[in-house]
Symmetry: C2
């Protein structure tokens, strides 16, 4: 059965953290949508400088979590810093948790989960620089290449992408997780 | 009496948040040092892209808080994200608090104070995107152009720089603040 996966990002997303999961999911014949609060295209960050533009498939205001089987939140130091203060972003992310659907987050992406108040008591990882913020928000932070906690999949950096992509597929195949909630 | 002020930064500091306080402090005949964990020069971020290179006056490993009257921590989304995981940075910042000296922090700069465990019970501001992290770390976060709490001076964004610079000078002239502590 085909799946439809939301990838939410804005300017400054780390290129590999969007492109690698997207390519991996599409290998299964699944549909991915790059969703953003802004229309047109969004500009990648490629390790040390601005990268390529990626076309936005859907405006955030035109979509609903009920249309998707899972959510992917790429990192990049600029992208989540923008998204975490956007109320529509927070509502969209919270809907995936309330609908018990898999959410996969990497690098600085978990900053968005802090504002969504979605990390309390959850076992997860992230880029090291935001680990203290996640602990202070109530998360159980661990330093592992991929952490799966009832539909919440997290990784640290681009080098973890193979493990991240594999677990993302597993969790999507499993479907809803009743303990994936706010 | 002349004063000597440490400005701690690395690549990706917001240019105006370093240059404006530096220029302002030097108008009083005071000495400023750009200090960084890396030698040579550090690259500014100018609003939407990389900016100019600034020469590093002193390597972090060669200086001590006891040589300075105050500390300035510029922001930028990239710079504090790098500095906050550096143990030498955290020790240097903590020394200013332990020596009751003024510390001025703007934009994303307070992320460093979270890792220094220096915000509990302190009244402060920052760029909005990290406000939840500061609250979770125990700070009393307010949305004001400049906040002064016993030698801790904080502002939100480059547009607050005139107020930030003025309060910074006031606090340096006052000298040590016994309630500025860890």
């Amino acid at each position: 059965m085909s799946k439809q996966i939301a990838i939410l990002a804005t300017n400054g997303f780390e290129e590999s953290e969007l492109k690698s999961p997207k390519d991996h999911l599409e290998q299964f014949g699944w549909i991915t949508h790059i969703i953003s609060p802004k229309g047109g295209s969004i500009k990648a960050w490629a390790e040390t400088d601005w990268g390529k533009e990626y076309p936005v498939d859907k405006l955030l205001e035109d979509v609903d979590a009920s249309q998707y089987d899972a959510l992917v939140l790429p990192g990049g130091v600029i992208n989540p810093d923008q998204l975490r203060t956007d109320k529509k972003v927070i509502a969209f992310v919270q809907d995936f948790f309330q609908q018990h659907k898999p959410v996969a987050v990497i690098c600085h992406g978990p900053q968005i989960l802090i504002n969504a108040d979605a990390v309390k008591g959850r076992r997860l990882t992230s880029v090291e620089s935001i680990s203290q913020d996640l602990k202070n928000a109530g998360a159980i932070w661990v330093d592992e290449e991929v952490v799966v906690d009832n539909g919440l999949i997290t990784s640290r950096t681009p080098k973890d992408l193979p493990a991240f992509n594999a677990k993302l597929v597993e969790e999507i195949k499993e479907g809803k997780h009743q303990k994936q909630t706010l």
